[in-house]
Structures are given as C-alpha cells and as structure tokens.
Symmetry: none
Subunit: 177 residues, 4 copies
C-alpha cells in the first residue's frame, strides 16, 4: 500500500472513532468521509463495508487497550494494576461509545480481542496472587463488569465522582471478603 493510502486509512479510522463515538454506530459513513476529508469512495475502498470499518476501528481500540494492560502487567504494582486498568478503561469509555461496543460481542474482533482478554487475565492472576482479589473470581466476571461499567459510564453520563463511587463498590466486591 502506498504511503498516502496508508495515511488516508489512518485518517479514516481516526474520523470513524470520532464520529461513531459522538453519534453511535448509526452515524453515516458519509459523515466519516467528510470528517476524514476524503470522498465517500475512499472510505469504501479501504473498508468495503460499513461493518468492516467498525470492526477495524474496534480492533485498533482493542490493540490499544491490550497494550495498556500489558504495560501495567509488566510495570505496575500487582495489587493495584487490575484496578488501575479497570479505572482507565471506564474513564475512557465515558467519552467513547466505541470502547463500550468493543467490549460487547456485537462485532467479532477476533484475535485482537483475545489479546486483550489475555492481558487482562494476567492482571487478574497477579492481583489474585497478591491477595488483592478473591481466588474464586474468574476472568469472565471481570470482563463482564468491565463491559457493564463502561457501558454505564458512557450511556448514563456518570460524573467523575459517581464513576469513582461505583467502581469502589465493584472493587470492594472483587476484594477479599
């Protein structure tokens, strides 16, 4: 792929994130094109289907989140890394519908999503080893709570304060009884 095509692809993905975040997945592809400063045909050349565009954007996001989780797993305090990551994701979600939809299963993101799951799994294991999280908690519930609170933060427009209080309950629930 040519350099300029690469650049356009990036512009389109960025625009898609902006647009779909603002208006949800029902936003028009045309709007994405406009925001990216390209013609509609260019969007469809890069992503033959609106769904492809959504999926590509989600993959990008999943990669980003997986990266964050991995970094925290490598560097952070095992006792708090999971919670830090959790907070970060939910905070981002507050402004981004896409994060939310990513965490659901509406669009199959495949490997990227798996990578993210794995990274979060590591965080969970460390937290459990260090006694910060109960042994009987499984990754599925953590993902579920992450999804749920991200959805909530976005749709319900939680304030920073409410978000903190809500997460503190979740974290208490995860901690040793």
């Amino acid at each position: 792929m040519r350099a300029d095509a690469q650049r356009n692809r990036a512009k389109i993905l960025a625009a898609a994130e902006e647009v779909f975040v603002e208006s949800g997945a029902d936003a028009s592809t045309e709007e994405v094109a406009k925001r990216a400063g390209v013609a509609i045909g260019t969007v469809f050349r890069h992503f033959p289907t609106k769904n492809d565009l959504l999926a590509a954007m989600m993959k990008q996001l999943a990669d980003r989140l997986a990266g964050e989780a991995e970094t925290l797993a490598a560097q952070g305090d095992p006792r708090t890394a999971l919670f830090t990551f959790f907070e970060g994701v939910v905070e981002q979600a507050a402004g981004k519908k896409t994060v939310v939809e990513l965490l659901g299963v509406d669009i199959q993101v495949g490997r990227q999503l798996q990578a993210m799951r794995d990274a979060i799994g590591t965080l969970l294991m460390r937290a459990q080893e260090s006694g910060a999280v109960r042994e009987d908690v499984q990754l599925d519930e953590v993902m579920a709570l992450l999804t749920a609170t991200s959805h909530g933060a976005l749709h319900a427009g939680w304030s920073d304060d409410l978000r903190a209080r809500t997460l503190s309950i979740v974290f208490a629930g995860l901690g040793p009884s």
Copy 2:
C-alpha cells in the same frame, strides 16, 4: 379522547414494547403499527414522533418497575429485597433492549423514572437499615450499577451463570466489608 382511541393507544404501546424489545430501537414504526393492528397514521396521531412513542413506552416500563420495587418494599425481606429487585431487572434486561435503554438517559422519561428511583431508594434504605448494605452507599451508585449490569446482560449476552457470578460480586461490594 374517545374510548376506542384510548384502546388504540394501549394497543400501540403494547406493540411498541414487543417490537422494540425484539429488534431494538431501530425497528420501524410501520412494524409497530402492523403489530398493533392499526394503520401507521394512527400511531403518529397518538405519538407525533417516533421518539415520543419510545418515550411513552419507556414511561410505561418505568411505572412497571417502580411497581415491582414498591411491592417488594411493602412485602419483602428488607435484607434481600433490593438484591431481589436488582436481579429481576437484570434478568429481564437480558431479553429486553428496552429495559436497558430505559435505564440510560438517552430518552428523558422524567417523572416516571423519578418514581422508580424513589421506590429503589426505599429498598436501599431498608437494606441499609437491616445491615445488608453498607451505610455509605448512595442511591446513585446503586442506580449506576443497575444500569451497567443491565446493559451488560443485554449487549454481552451473558449466560445465566455468568450473570449470577457477576451480580454476586456486585452484591458483595454493596454488603458490609
């Protein structure tokens, strides 16, 4: 309003709940009309806008949930009533897009939503008085968690098992430490 108009209004609302629950808010108004056994014009005479129809349906739902909460407040065990209600809502949400959307703020439901909040507030107070829920938990967080887990149950398609495990964490978080 004539008696038959009143009856049509009810039929339309019922149909709307059916349709939007099955197919989400993107379902067509035409489909609602068909399901209600009414012409499309009649739907728009009662609800000048699709949004008005959605809002009315949400209000109905909010009323129903408020009723459930009040019943539980009047009759149930104070220690478990909140959790019972919580579980019931999330379980319903798993099969109903509308419940989920109701809990968000996309559509302003106003007074009905307030009634529901109040009823849930009562449940919370009772639970706190009985020591089942920590004193520092506020209604906002409870609503937030209710919203979040309902969203999650719907979008992520949680299994019954996962739903139970996820809620058990939330309930643990709400309980005394």
Copy 3:
C-alpha cells in the same frame, strides 16, 4: 386499494414502459418516478423492487399480446392470423425494448407468459390445419423466431422495408415447401 393509488400504479407502469423502452432495463427507477410524476418512494411502495416493477410491466405486456392473439384466433382468417400476429408483435418491438425482453426468459412472468404461449399455439394450430404452415413446425420454433425477430427489429433498428423482407423469409420458411 384506493382509487388514487390505483391511478398512480397505472401511471408508474406506463412511465416504466416508456422509460425502459427508451433506455433499456438499466434506466433508473428514479427516472421512472420522475416520468410518472410521483416521488421515488411511491414507486417502491407499489413495486418493492426494481425487478418487481420490470416484471409487472412485462406481465402487462404479455396480457396485451395474449389478448391480441386471442382476438385474432377468434376473428381472423386462420391462414393468415399467425402471420398477422407475428408482424404486429415485431412491429411493436421495433419501438419497444420491453416487448423484446418479455419474449426472452430473463424475468419470469409466469402465468401471463403461458397464456400468451397458449394463444399463439392456437394460432399456429389453425394455420397448420388450414395448410398455411408446415405440419412439422412446433410452437417452440415459432416462439423462438418471434423472439429473435423482435430482438432484431429493436436492436438493429430495422426499417419498415427491411422488416417486411425479413419476415417474408421467415414466413416462407414456415409455409409448405
């Protein structure tokens, strides 16, 4: 169906015949709407698919042709009725792409087409009984020649003279040797 809807349906079919005749089946549905003096949605309300519109137009045509054939079978001279019908169809085809496409099998017209075949079959039988057409000629060939010459008259823009000379060869081929 209401009277005005009936009228619109007719206007649309007429416009479709005009438009598709002028420009072939690739002409846009929008153009049909414009020509009919209705909005595009109206066309799609009556004919949910472009193909449905084409098929309906074809059916109308098949009905018309079947009617002509039946009239000739009832009233005409058995020796010449088939040839008269044949000439009539090809003459119409000269200005109408649709007649041509109807005779092909691109779009399944079903019963209407069958009715037309039957009517032409009657004409053929009469012609053979009267000795004007060889006994070993089958309906399939007659239909094939009708199709072929109609196509030709249209696409090649035959003059009246050329059409007459071409048909005279076909008729000679059909007659007794």
Copy 4:
C-alpha cells in the same frame, strides 16, 4: 507504442472478451483489468472510455468472423457455405453475449463490420449462383436474420435442438420456393 504496451493492449482485449462474454456489458472495467493482470489505469490509458474498450473488442470479433466467412468463401461448397457460416455464428452467440451485441448497432464498429458484411455478401452471392438461395434475397435480410437468431440464441437460451429447428426454418425460407 512500446512492445510491452502492445502486449498489454492485447492482454486487455482478451480479458475484455472473456469478462464481457461471461457477464455481459455491465461487467466492471475493474474486473477486466484484474483478469488482464493489469492495473485499472492501464486499461483507461489504452481505451479512454469503457465504450472504447467495448468497441475495440467488437472490432476484433468482427475481424475474426470476417476471416471465417472469407475462409469459407475460398474453400467451402458454395451451396452450403452461407448456411455453415450462419450456423457457426449463431452457435457461438449462444455462449457469447458479445457476438450478439456486435451484430446489433449499439456500438459503431465501422470498417471491421463492413469487412464482415462484405465477406458474408460473397457467401450469399455464391449461394445464389449455385441456386441454394433465392435470387430476390438481399444481404440486408440475411444480416438481419443473422442478428436476430444470434440474439435469440443468446437471450432465450435455446437448446441445441431448438436452435437447429429454428435455423432450418430460416434456411427453408431462404431456399428456392
């Protein structure tokens, strides 16, 4: 023109014949480029317009048919050569949309078509001299019937059998009465 450009031109024409024969003239130019192993820009450099490409392909075909006619005129039995050629063209047409469209006048093919006409004219003259075809038949009718039956064979999807029976009627019509 460079040697490789020459080669590309040939590859494109060959691909065009393949593609348009399979899918009709609505096939996309992109598909032709792909089949030719060439970028889309190259196709448009050689043939500035899709129509130009179609026309060039038709010319090629006309040349080929003219060649066949000339060969038959030089070598074949004058009594049957015209019929043999006729059968060959119609048989080819059955599998080739392009042959059909060539014989029409949708696209002006000019000199090449003239060459083909001339060659067929020779076949006709020989057939008439040998008494196999009536004296009063003109080339125009023969071309018209060739066009018509080719169209028919293609669009109506005639079986081999039907094609033979249909042509036998045409040939009987051309023969002495």
